[in-house]
């Protein structure tokens, strides 16, 4: 859309404004330049990170497996890759419904005096450093979960997920996933809440006027309107869960075996956590392999985001969203 029409008019009106006109003509391209430049900068940063990862990781992929400290790179990264995806999946599975619940509670259920402090507390939690989540995980959460795990193992051990020897310390895959879920909860909640709050009031009222119950109104109006926001919030959360380093490193009793069992001491570690654990003692010939695992994680993030984008751009959803926007 161009607005040159406006300039022409003002030029005709007062000769005095020629200066102003000049500035306006300069202002627009400069401003646009900044915007485009910033977008490009994102591209450059990302390209630089990718280039850094690839250059540093190349030795790990081309060298003979026998010369590498951890053996074949693909074999080395496989269990960590599984652990990363498995833990993030579990975390997302737990966090998203609960986060939507909290966001809806704040935006549509809670009394006004309560909504604001609750939102404040949730935002605050986004600031708790991952180290603290780790400390809390090993000192409070894991010991508290041990009896529950033992009960699950004893009574539901026939379900493969709960099979195996139940950990005596509670530092299991499920605990790590719970910690991750709690970590990403504030992020997902904050963004979802912001979007839910902006649901057009007229539409909500229209829905009520047609006799909908509150829940039906939410299903008809709030959720379709907020779906894009919720999905991108979940993606942000997933990004953090995939890359979370310190909390997982501290909480998870990680190793290199691939298993779906949730309650044992022998869990696959995650890529980021493994880098943090191995990097401090890594010699110069081990570093490329660790960075190679980082590259794999980077690629996974790419794939996950593409998948997320594919979901959000589904046809039915887009229609609902557009409709909601138009009427707003």
């Amino acid at each position: 859309m161009t607005v040159t029409g406006g300039n022409v008019v003002s030029e005709d009106l007062a000769p005095d404004q020629s200066l102003l006109v000049d500035r306006r003509k300069l202002g627009d391209p400069v401003f646009k330049g900044f915007s485009v430049g910033s977008g490009m900068l994102i591209l450059v940063i990302l390209a630089a990170v990718a280039a850094f990862l690839i250059v540093q990781a190349v030795p790990a992929f081309v060298a003979d497996a026998a010369d590498l400290p951890y053996g074949n790179t693909w074999g080395y990264v496989a269990p960590f890759l599984f652990g990363t995806i498995w833990s993030s999946f579990l975390a997302l599975l737990m966090a998203v419904p609960v986060a939507i619940g909290i966001a809806l509670y704040i935006s549509h259920f809670a009394p006004k005096q309560l909504a604001s402090p609750v939102a404040f507390v949730v935002d605050l939690l986004a600031a708790v450093p991952s180290v603290v989540f780790g400390l809390w995980g090993i000192n409070v959460l894991a010991p508290a979960l041990v009896p529950i795990y033992q009960w699950l193992g004893a009574n539901l051990g026939w379900i493969p997920l709960f099979g195996g020897n139940v950990s005596g310390t509670g530092r299991t895959m499920l605990t790590a996933a719970i910690v991750l879920a709690i970590m990403i909860l504030p992020i997902i909640t904050s963004l979802s809440r912001e979007v839910f709050l902006r649901t057009p009031g007229l539409q909500e009222e229209a829905s009520f006027a047609l006799g909908a119950t509150r829940w039906e109104m939410i299903g008809q109006v709030v959720l379709p309107f907020g779906r894009s926001g919720v999905v991108s919030a979940a993606m942000l959360g997933l990004g953090r869960a995939l890359g979370e380093t310190m909390a997982v490193a501290m909480v998870l009793s990680g190793g290199r075996n691939i298993t779906f069992q949730l309650l044992t001491s022998n869990n696959p570690n995650t890529i980021a956590s493994n880098i943090a654990l191995a990097f401090p003692e890594a010699d110069s010939h081990a570093v490329p392999q660790l960075i190679a695992t980082g590259l794999v994680l980077f690629v996974i993030t790419f794939v996950v985001n593409m998948a997320g984008r594919a979901i959000t751009s589904g046809h039915g959803f887009r229609l609902a969203h557009k409709r909601a926007h138009k009427e707003g």
Partner: protein, 364 residues
């Protein structure tokens, strides 16, 4: 978790003749009463099996209550209202469920952080401190400097990118950048640290400094600023823009004078959320900033090595590598965590004030 919306009840169900307005509604205190009964029943059941405990009773009583309230509401109010009630309690349940770990975490940080939350903690460094005493002034300063630099780098880039995405971008380039921003949110923090370290090594040789830490944090922070601002700017009603254009205002002035002020509260809270996201980062700073016990406010990599300590790193080393007596180290670590949370709280309060002060009043 959430119950699927049931297909609407048959018409006849809803249009059953009612005698009065309140007919067909559960009395006001049914819910509360049923909740108490459910938990009592659950407790009794558990006691019967000889394994009574409060948490178990609540965990078992919750579902029991949901089933009960559904049955009761279904028989009196019809299916749609029953679903509504259940949904309401499931949402409240989710909220309470999430509150448990959150409150536990905050309680842990506050109760363990208070013992060393004293004047000394803020005024002294850890230089020459062995065992008890000392403070984290150097680490607090480090966090402020590094986070401040990261914010100064990230906000313009992030905000302008968001403006590009909403106001200017279209077609392929826009899609690509949106996608890349998403990917960027997924960069693992430790990879960002390694990247920043490698970048500085390549330019000025092996070095550790606050600036390198700030660059690592910027890589992590920018996508959050973009994402948060973009969502908010997108929600500015088009009618406002069109009104501005109709008055002959140029595009950039429309953005600066109309779009940004309208969304400023959202942008500020988005930026603060982004700061909150990075202020507690540990892994990238371990790799990029080095470690010192002395005060250092110079973030530039002067002389190659110019280590600076940030609060999360301080917390990490105090906790994972304590000397003796251990408790003194643990206390300092927890107080450090508490201070981090407080810093974000203060930022939040300031952010809210700014948002209130400068946001123009529009219809919502």
């Amino acid at each position: 978790m959430t119950a699927d919306a049931q297909p609407d009840a048959p018409l006849g169900d809803q249009y059953m003749p009612r005698m009065s307005l309140t007919a067909g509604q559960l009395p006001k205190f049914t819910d509360l009463g049923l909740l108490v009964i459910s938990i009592a029943v659950a407790a009794a059941l558990l006691a019967l099996f000889g394994s009574f405990n409060l948490v178990g009773a609540i965990l078992l009583g919750g579902p029991l209550f949901l089933v009960g309230i559904y049955a009761l509401a279904f028989s009196v109010e019809g299916r749609r209202r029953a679903v509504n009630r259940v949904a309401r309690y499931v949402i409240i349940g989710a909220f309470v469920l999430a509150l448990v770990p959150l409150v536990s975490l905050l309680w842990e940080v506050i109760s363990k952080g208070l013992p060393r939350f004293d004047w000394q903690f803020f005024t002294e460094t850890k230089r020459n401190v062995v065992g008890e005493g000392g403070g984290a002034a150097h680490a607090i300063m480090g966090t402020l400097v590094v986070t401040g630099l990261a914010t100064v780098f990230s906000v313009p880039v992030g905000l302008f990118t968001a403006i590009y995405l909403v106001e200017y971008g279209k077609g392929g380039p826009k899609k690509v950048i949106t996608f890349l921003v998403d990917v960027m949110t997924g960069i693992p923090s430790i990879v960002a640290g390694l990247f920043a370290y490698a970048l500085f090594s390549a330019v000025i040789g092996p070095s550790k400094s606050g600036l390198a830490g700030a660059v690592a944090l910027t890589v992590l922070m920018v996508p959050y600023v973009v994402r948060n601002s973009e969502e908010i700017i997108r929600l500015v009603p088009n009618s406002l823009r069109e009104a501005s254009y109709a008055l002959g205002v140029t595009r950039w002035r429309t953005i600066v004078k109309v779009v940004l002020p309208t969304s400023i509260s959202g942008i500020v809270s988005g930026v603060i959320l982004a700061i909150a996201r990075i202020i507690g980062e540990t892994a990238p700073l371990l790799v990029t900033m080095g470690f010192t016990d002395s005060m250092n406010t110079n973030a530039l990599p002067a002389g190659g090595m110019n280590p600076m300590t940030a609060l999360p790193v301080f917390v990490y080393y105090e906790y994972t590598r304590p000397g003796r007596p251990q408790q003194a180290y643990f206390d300092r670590a927890w107080t450090g965590a508490l201070v981090l949370v407080l810093i974000v709280m203060i930022l939040n309060v300031i952010g809210r004030y700014v948002a209130k002060r400068f946001a123009p009043k529009i219809n919502r």
